[in-house]
Amino acid sequence: MISEPIFGVTITLLFFIIAIWLRDKTKISLLNPMLVTTLLIISFLYTLNIPYESYKIGGDMILNFLGPITVILALPLYRNRTKLKKYYVSIFVGILSGSFSVMLTVISLSYLLGIQENLMPALLAKSVTTPIGLSISDMVGANRAITMIAIVFTGILGVTVAPILFKIFKITNPIARGIALGTTSHAIGTGKAFEYGSLEGAMSSVSIALAGISSIFWVMFFQSIGIL
C-alpha cells in the first residue's frame, strides 16, 4: 500500500484536514497548518517506520502544482489593482528595499556567524511566499526542505514580533504596516495584516507576489556580481 503514489497524497490530505480543524478549534496562530501537517506526517511516518521515499512518490505529485499555483498569485494582485495604482511609490520602494534588506542581512549575518555555504542560500528565500520561495531555492541551489523551514519560521516569527516592533518604532500607518508584514512574512503576515484592517490586508496581499518578484531580481543581481 505504501508504494502507491496515492498513499502520500492521502496522508497529506488527512493530516491537512486535521491541522485545519485544530487551527479553527483552538484559534492559536502558532498552530500554522503547514507546520502542523508537516510535523504530523513526520511523526506518523516515524511511528509506523515508513520510509520517507514511500511518502515522497505522492508528495512529488502534489509539488508538481507549484508552478501553476504561482500563476494564480496574479489574482490577488489584480483584485487590489486600484490600491496598487494609488500607492505604487510606497509599495515599490518598501518592497524593493525590504527584500534587499533580507538579502543583505542574510548574507552578512551568515558570513559573520560562519554558517555553511550549503545552508545560507536556503535563508535567502525566507521572506518569500512558498511557491516563489521554492523557485528561488532552486535558483540558488538550496535545499528545498530547509528553505521551507526558514519560510515558515520567518512567517510565524514576523507576526509574533510585529505588534511589539510597530509599537517601539511607532509604525502606525496602515500602508506601512501592511507592506512591512507582507514583505517580511508573506501569507502568514497577510493574515495578521487583515486583523489590523482591510487596507493593511490589501497592502500585504500585493506585497506577497511583488516581494517574490523583487527577491528574484535581487538574487539575479547578486549572482551577476558574483556574491551568490
Partner: protein, 118 residues
C-alpha cells in the same frame, strides 16, 4: 466543465511562462512569468476574473496544503541543520526583525511626505 476550463487556462498560462523562460534561456522562474501573463490578461479583460475564480480561490485559501510535501522533506535532510540550528535561528530572528522595521519606517516616512505634498 467550468473547472476543466479554469484548469486549462491556468495550466496553459503556466506552460507558456515556462516556454518563455526556456526560450530566453533565463533562470527566472517560468511560473512567475506566467503570473505576469495572467495579470496582463486580466488587466486587459482578455480573461475575466470569473473564468478562473473557482480554482484560484480554492488554491489561495488552501495554499499550505500544496507545500507540505516540501516540508516533510526535512526528514531526509535534517542532518544539514545539525550543529547549525542556533546560528540558523539567530539569522532568521535578527534579519526578520530588521526587515520588518526597515520597510515599515521607510514606507511610513514616504506616505507622510506625500500627504504633506497633497
Amino acid at each position: 466543465m467550468k473547472l476543466f476550463k479554469e484548469l486549462s487556462i491556468i495550466f496553459s498560462i503556466y506552460l507558456l511562462g515556462e516556454t518563455i523562460a526556456y526560450l530566453l534561456n533565463t533562470s527566472f522562474p517560468g511560473g512567475v512569468i506566467g503570473m505576469f501573463i495572467l495579470f496582463i490578461l486580466l488587466y486587459l479583460s482578455i480573461i475575466k476574473e470569473n473564468q478562473i475564480n473557482i480554482i484560484s480561490d480554492f488554491v489561495l485559501n488552501n495554499m499550505p496544503f500544496f507545500f507540505v510535501p516540501a516540508g516533510v522533506g526535512i526528514m531526509a535532510h535534517f542532518y544539514l541543520l545539525e550543529g547549525a540550528l542556533l546560528q540558523f535561528s539567530f539569522v532568521i530572528i535578527v534579519s526578520t526583525s530588521l526587515v520588518l522595521v526597515i520597510s515599515g519606517i521607510l514606507v511610513q516616512a514616504l506616505v507622510k511626505k506625500r500627504e504633506k505634498h497633497d
